[in-house]
C-alpha cells in the first residue's frame, strides 16, 4: 500500500465521520474508525521487514523548482511512531465509541480525532521539511479544537487557547529553523538533509538552527518552561488526552529531535540544551504530579516528567541515550494510554476525578482495577513489566552522561516520585475506604464492559512486551537506530542502575506512606508557567489598549504617522544611490521644450490655485486646467494616445465633480469651508505644510534619482517598438502594448474600472440608510417615480435645458458614436482605441443626462443599460482572450488575419474584438456613474418632504382600510 494513501485515509474518514454519525450509533462509528486504524497498523507492521534495505520514500512533485514536494520517508524511526499512532489510535477510537453517549458529539469528536491521526502520521512520515511543518501545525490546530471540544466551558476555551499560543508560537520558531536548515543543507528533502550533517554542523547558521528547532520541539513536547500548557490541556475529553497529550502529539517534539539527531545531534549546544531542559522537566513534572488532586492533572504532570526524560536522553553524547528514548516512548505510550483511558472511565461513571472524592472503586470496577494495577506497576518500573526495562535503560544511559552522579541522583529521585504517583493512582482510587459520594453514584452508572477493551489491551501490552523483547522490540529498535543493541528484561548482575532502580522503588513506597505530610507541605510562592503566560497575555492586552488611544478615528492623524514613518524609513535605510549628477541634463533643445516648461508651470500654478481657492468649484476648475496642461505635455512628448485619453478623462472628471458638487448642499459646504480654512496663522496649517513639504521633498529626491540614474536606451521599450508590427499587426506601439503585450493588465484594468463604477452605482442609487428617512416612505416614493415618470420629469428637468442645448445634445450622441466606431476600427494605426471610444460615447451620454435630466434620458434612451454593457464588454474581452485556449494556444494569444484584404486600410484581428469589449465596458461604467449621479431619488427625498407628507395620508388610509377588512373577516 502506498505511503501517501496511509496518510490520507484517516482524513477521508474524518470527512465521513459527521455524515456517518447520523446513520450509525456511537459505538458502531468508533469501531469503524478503530477498524480502519487497526488495518493501517497491520500495513505498517507489514512494512517492517522491508526496511532493512533502507528507508522507503515516495514523492509527489508539486513545485519541483522551489523544492515544494509532498514526499514521504519511512524508516525504522518513523515506523515506531506510525505504529504507536495507528495502534494506540485504534484502541482510543474504539474506546471513544462508548465514551460519548450521543452519536452526534461522537461523530464530531471522531472527525477531529481521525483528522489528527492523519496529521500525526503526516508528521512522522513526512519526507520534506515543509510538509513536516504543515502536518505539525495541523496537529497543533486539531489539538486546539480537541481541547476546546467542550467549548461552553471557560477552562476548555482558555486551555485550548493556551495550547495554541504556546505550540503555535513554537511552530513559528520551527518554521524559521526548518527554513534555515533547508537553506543551509541546500535541500528540503529529508533524505538529502540526513546526509549533510557535517555541512550543517560546521555552518555559521548552526547555532540559530539548533536553537530554533529546539524551541519548536520543547514547546510541542511540553518542556520546562513551556510545560504549563499540557496540564491545562486536560479540559479535552479524556480519549483526546490519552491519544494526543500523552501518546502521540506531545511526542512530536521528541520525534523531531530524534529525526534530526544525525544532523544536529552530538555536540555541545545539543548536549547542554537538551540535557539541562530535559532533566529539569523530568524533575519538575514528577514533583508536581504527586501534588495534584485532579487525576488527569496527575497524569499530565507525570507525562511532562517522562517527556523530560526522553529529551534528556536524546541529548546524551554519542547516541548513548537513543535506544533508551525509543524504549521509553513505547513503554510510556502503553501504560500512560491505559491509565488515561481508565481515568476517563472513572470520571465517566463516577462523575468526578478528584482524588479527595474517590476511593475503593475496586469492588465496582474489578477489571479496571486490574488493568490499572498492571499499568501502574509498569509506570513504577517493577520487573518484569516493560516499564522496568525502560527505567533500566534510562539509568544505564544516564550513567554514561558527563555529570553522571548528579543526573543519576535526579533521575532516581524523579523515578521514586513516579513510583509514588503510580501507587497513588492505584491505591487511592481503587483501594482504601470508599467515600460517601462514590459508593452512591457508582451503582447508578457502571461502565460498559467494552470500555475495558482498550485499557486492558494497553496494560497487557505493558505486561507482555517485557517478555517479547527479543522477537519484537529489539528488531524494531535496531531498525530505527541502524545498529545492534543490547536489550534484556532482567539484568544478569546487580549493577548500579539496578541498585538505583530498587532504591527508587523503596523510596517511592516510603514517600507514598507519608504522602499526607508531603502534600500539606507549603511551598514558597514561585510564579508558575501559566501565571507568567497570563501575565504576558494581560500585558499584550494593556499594550493594545495603549495603542488604541492613538486610534482617535481621524484619518488625517493616521496619515500623519504613516507619512512621517515613510520619511523616516527612506532616510534611515539609505537605499537611494547617490544621484549621478553627470547625467543631470537640463539642456533645452527646441521650442517644444520651452512649451513644455510653460505647460509644467501652468500645471503647477493651477494645482497651487486649487489649494488656495476656498470655493470648491473654482478649485475643481483649477484642477481641470492642471489636467489639461498635463495632457498638453503628453501631446508634446509626443504621446498622442495618452494625450487623447488625458483630455477625455479630464473633461469627464470635471463634469463629474461639478455634478457632484451640485449634489451636495452648497450651504453645508460653505459652512465647512468657513470653519476649516484657517489661514497661515494657524499652527496646524504649518504642521501640514511641514509634512507635505517633507513628503514632496522626498518624492522629488526619489523621482530625480530614478530619472537621472535610469540607464537610457537600454530599455525593453526598444524591443516593443521593433516587434510591435510583426507580432501584433498594430502600428501604434502603445496600443500594441495595451492590447497585446500587456493585454492581461488591460483586462484587469477594465475589470477594476467596471467594479468601481458598479460600486458607485450601488452606493448612490440605494435608499439612504439613516435616521432621516423611513423605508416605507422611500419605497412608496420609488413606486411613484416609476409609475408616473412624465409628471416627475417636469420637476427634475435641469435649468440648462433649452431648445438649443437639447438640439446640441441630440446631435452629440450620434456623432460620438461615429467617432467611437472610427476609433475602434482604426485603433491600430491612429491615436485612439477602445477606451477612448468608450469615453467619447460616455461623454455623449453624459451630455444627455446634463441637458435632459435623469427621467427624460431614461425614457428616451431605453437601450441604455449600464450593467448590460459592462457584462457584455467584460464577457467579450474574456471570451476573446479565452478562445485561443480551445485551439491549444495560450490565454490571450492574438489571431492575425493577414490575408484578409479590407477596404480603406482597415485591419481586423482578435484585438479588434478586445477593443470592442473595452469600449463596451468603459461605456457601461461611465453610464453607470452618470446615471448614479444624475439619479434624482435622494435629492427629491431630501428636499421635497412635502411630497412625502402628502403621500403619507394615502398610506394611512390604505392601512386603515386593510385593518377594517381584517376586522370584518
Amino acid at each position: 500500500m502506498d505511503i501517501a494513501l496511509t496518510v490520507s485515509t484517516p482524513f477521508v474518514l474524518a470527512a465521513a465521520a459527521m455524515p456517518l454519525s447520523r446513520r450509525l450509533s456511537a459505538p458502531q462509528l468508533g469501531s469503524l474508525m478503530a477498524g480502519v486504524l487497526a488495518l493501517l497498523f497491520l500495513f505498517f507492521v507489514g512494512y517492517a521487514p522491508m526496511l532493512s534495505a533502507g528507508a522507503l520514500t515516495h514523492t509527489i512533485e508539486w513545485v519541483p523548482s522551489l523544492q515544494l514536494n509532498l514526499s514521504f520517508y519511512l524508516d525504522g524511526l518513523a515506523l515506531i511512531f506510525a505504529l504507536i499512532v495507528t495502534g494506540v489510535g485504534a484502541l482510543v477510537m474504539l474506546y471513544t465509541g462508548f465514551y460519548f453517549e450521543d452519536s452526534q458529539s461522537a461523530g464530531r469528536f471522531l472527525m477531529l480525532m481521525m483528522a489528527f491521526s492523519g496529521a500525526m502520521l503526516g508528521v512522522v512520515l513526512a519526507g520534506n521539511l515543509l510538509a513536516l511543518f504543515i502536518a505539525w501545525e495541523l496537529t497543533s490546530i486539531l489539538s486546539f479544537l480537541l481541547i476546546g471540544f467542550k467549548g461552553k466551558e471557560r477552562s476548555a476555551r482558555s486551555g485550548a487557547m493556551m495550547a495554541l499560543v504556546v505550540t503555535g508560537g513554537g511552530g513559528l520558531a520551527l518554521l524559521l529553523g526548518l527554513m534555515l536548515l533547508g537553506a543551509t543543507a541546500g535541500s528540503y528533502e529529508l533524505s538529502a538533509i540526513l546526509n549533510s550533517g557535517d555541512l550543517v554542523r560546521e555552518h555559521a547558521a548552526f547555532l540559530p538552527i539548533a536553537l530554533l528547532l529546539m524551541l519548536g520541539a520543547f514547546t510541542k513536547s511540553a518542556q520546562f518552561p513551556f510545560h504549563f500548557w499540557l496540564p491545562n490541556a486536560m479540559s479535552a475529553p479524556t480519549p483526546a488526552s490519552a491519544f494526543l497529550h500523552s501518546a502521540t502529539m506531545v511526542k512530536a517534539g521528541v520525534y523531531l529531535l530524534l529525526r534530526l539527531y544525525p544532523v544536529l545531534g552530538d555536540n555541545a549546544v545539543w548536549l547542554g540544551g537538551l540535557l539541562t531542559v530535559g532533566t529539569l522537566t523530568l524533575f519538575i513534572g514528577a514533583f508536581w504530579a504527586i501534588r495534584q488532586r485532579d487525576l488527569k492533572a496527575c497524569l499530565a504532570f507525570s507525562t511532562v516528567s517522562w517527556l523530560g526524560a526522553l529529551v534528556a536522553l536524546i541529548g546524551l553524547p554519542n547516541g548513548y541515550g537513543l535506544m533508551a528514548a525509543l524504549v521509553g516512548i513505547l513503554a510510556h505510550a502503553l501504560y500512560k494510554g491505559a491509565l488515561f483511558l481508565i481515568v476517563g472511565t472513572v470520571d465517566h461513571s463516577v462523575g468526578t476525578r478528584n482524588l479527595d472524592e474517590l476511593g475503593g472503586l475496586a469492588r465496582q470496577m474489578r477489571g479496571f482495577a486490574l488493568a490499572t494495577g498492571v499499568a501502574a506497576l509498569s509506570m513504577a518500573g517493577v520487573p518484569p513489566l516493560f516499564g522496568f526495562v525502560a527505567k533500566e535503560v534510562l539509568l544505564k544511559a544516564m550513567e554514561k552522561s558527563p555529570a553522571a552522579d548528579v543526573l543519576l541522583g535526579v533521575v532516581t529521585l524523579a523515578a521514586a516520585l513516579t513510583v509514588t504517583m503510580a501507587l497513588i493512582l492505584f491505591w487511592d482510587v481503587f483501594m482504601g475506604k470508599p467515600r460517601q459520594k462514590v459508593s452512591e453514584e457508582a451503582h447508578h452508572h457502571a461502565p460498559p464492559l467494552p470500555m475495558l477493551i482498550a485499557p486492558a489491551t494497553l496494560a497487557a501490552g505493558s505486561l507482555l512486551l517485557g517478555f517479547l523483547i527479543d522477537p519484537l522490540v529489539k528488531p524494531l529498535i535496531e531498525a530505527a537506530l541502524g545498529v545492534p543493541v543490547k536489550l534484556y528484561l532482567l539484568p544478569s548482575e546487580l549493577d548500579r542502575p539496578f541498585q538505583l532502580s530498587l532504591t527508587a522503588l523503596a523510596l517511592g513506597g516510603a514517600i507514598f506512606l507519608v504522602r499526607c505530610y508531603w502534600l500539606s507541605l507549603r511551598l514558597p510562592p514561585i510564579p508558575s508557567g501559566s501565571q507568567v503566560y497570563r501575565a504576558a497575555l494581560r500585558s499584550v492586552d494593556a499594550f493594545g489598549d495603549l495603542l488604541l488611544r492613538l486610534q482617535n478615528g481621524k484619518i488625517r492623524f493616521y496619515l500623519l504617522f504613516m507619512l512621517s514613518a515613510l520619511i523616516l524609513f527612506v532616510v534611515a535605510s539609505g537605499i537611494v544611490d547617490p544621484i549621478k549628477w553627470a547625467r543631470f541634463n537640463l539642456s533645452i533643445r527646441d521650442s517644444a521644450d520651452v512649451l513644455k516648461i510653460v505647460l509644467l508651470l501652468i500645471a503647477l500654478i493651477a494645482t497651487f490655485a486649487s489649494i488656495v481657492f476656498k470655493r470648491h468649484i473654482i478649485a475643481a476648475l483649477s484642477l481641470g486646467v492642471a489636467g489639461y496642461s498635463i495632457g498638453g505635455l503628453f501631446l508634446l512628448e509626443p504621446a498622442p494616445d495618452v494625450a487623447l485619453v488625458q483630455f477625455l478623462v479630464e473633461t469627464l472628471a470635471t463634469v463629474l465633480i461639478i455634478l457632484i458638487l451640485a449634489k451636495t448642499s452648497s450651504r453645508e459646504r460653505e459652512k465647512v469651508i468657513n470653519r476649516t480654512e484657517r489661514g497661515l496663522r494657524h499652527p496646524k496649517v504649518w504642521r501640514d505644510i511641514a509634512i507635505s513639504g517633507a513628503i514632496g521633498g522626498l518624492v522629488t529626491f526619489l523621482a530625480v534619482a530614478a530619472v537621472v540614474n535610469r540607464p537610457s536606451r537600454e530599455s525593453i521599450a526598444q524591443w516593443h517598438i521593433e516587434n510591435a508590427l510583426s507580432l501584433t499587426g498594430i502600428n501604434d506601439v502603445a496600443a500594441a502594448i495595451i492590447t497585446d503585450f500587456r493585454g492581461m493588465d488591460t483586462m484587469i484594468e477594465i475589470t477594476v474600472f467596471s467594479v468601481a463604477s458598479i460600486a458607485v452605482y450601488t452606493l448612490l442609487t440605494r435608499p439612504p440608510a439613516g435616521k432621516v428617512w423611513r423605508r416605507s416612505q422611500r419605497e412608496d416614493r420609488l413606486e411613484m417615480s416609476e409609475a408616473e415618470p412624465a409628471e416627475l420629469s417636469d420637476n427634475t428637468t435641469p435649468r440648462i435645458s433649452t431648445p438649443l442645448t437639447r438640439f446640441g445634445a441630440l446631435l452629440v450622441l450620434p456623432f460620438s458614436a461615429l467617432i467611437a466606431v472610427e476609433q475602434i476600427l482604426y485603433a491600430s494605426s491612429v491615436p485612439g482605441d477602445g477606451f477612448t471610444a468608450g469615453v467619447v460615447l460616455g461623454l455623449g451620454v453624459a451630455a444627455w443626462y446634463v441637458v435632459f435630466g435623469y427621467h427624460e434620458t431614461k425614457q428616451r434612451l431605453p437601450w441604455l443599460k449600464p450593467p448590460l454593457f459592462i457584462s457584455a464588454g467584460l464577457g467579450l474581452a474574456f471570451t476573446n482572450a479565452a478562445l485561443p485556449l480551445i485551439v491549444g494556444r495560450e490565454f490571450g494569444a492574438i489571431t492575425l488575419l493577414k490575408d484578409l484584404k479590407l477596404p480603406a486600410d482597415l485591419k481586423f484581428s482578435s484585438t479588434t474584438l478586445f477593443e470592442i469589449g473595452i469600449c463596451l465596458a468603459v461605456l457601461g461604467g461611465i453610464c453607470a456613474i452618470m446615471e448614479a449621479i444624475a439619479s434624482p431619488k435622494e435629492v427629491e427625498a431630501a428636499e421635497k418632504r412635502e411630497t412625502q407628507t402628502i403621500e403619507r395620508p394615502k398610506e394611512k388610509e390604505i392601512e386603515k382600510e386593510i385593518e377594517k377588512e381584517i376586522e370584518r373577516v
Partner: protein, 115 residues
C-alpha cells in the same frame, strides 16, 4: 527635460499630500487627484528616451522621421489614468454618501456625529 518633470512631480506630490490632510473631504479628494496626476507625470519622466516623433511604426515595422517616444511608459500611463479615474469616482461617491447622511463634508464633524 525629464529632470524638470521629476522636480515638478515632487512639488505636485507635496501639494497633493497637503490637500489630502484637509478636514474638508472634497478637498481631500482633490488631493488624491493631484497625487494621481503627479504619478502620471513621473511615469512620463521615467521614459527611457526623449523622442521627437510618436511611437508609431510604418508598414515595414520601423519608426520614421526620428527618435520615437517611449511607448512603454505611455501604456503604463494609459492604464494608470483609467484606474485613477475609477478610484476618484468611487471616492467622490463615498463623499456624496457621507454628506447625504451627515449633512456635512467635514471629516472631524462626521467623527463627532458617529460617536
Amino acid at each position: 527635460m525629464s529632470v524638470l518633470f521629476a522636480l515638478a512631480t515632487g512639488i505636485m506630490f507635496g501639494m497633493g499630500i497637503y490637500q489630502l490632510l484637509r478636514r474638508d473631504l472634497i478637498k481631500a479628494a482633490f488631493g488624491f487627484y493631484i497625487l494621481f496626476t503627479a504619478i502620471n507625470l513621473f511615469l512620463l519622466a521615467a521614459g527611457a528616451f526623449e523622442g521627437t516623433v510618436p511611437a508609431y511604426v510604418d508598414e515595414s515595422g520601423r519608426v520614421v522621421g526620428g527618435t520615437s517616444s517611449d511607448p512603454l511608459v505611455q501604456a503604463l500611463i494609459l492604464t494608470a489614468i483609467v484606474i485613477s479615474f475609477g478610484t476618484y469616482t468611487l471616492l467622490l461617491s463615498f463623499i456624496v454618501l457621507a454628506s447625504r447622511r451627515f449633512k456635512t463634508v467635514d471629516s472631524d464633524e462626521i467623527d463627532d456625529l458617529i460617536r
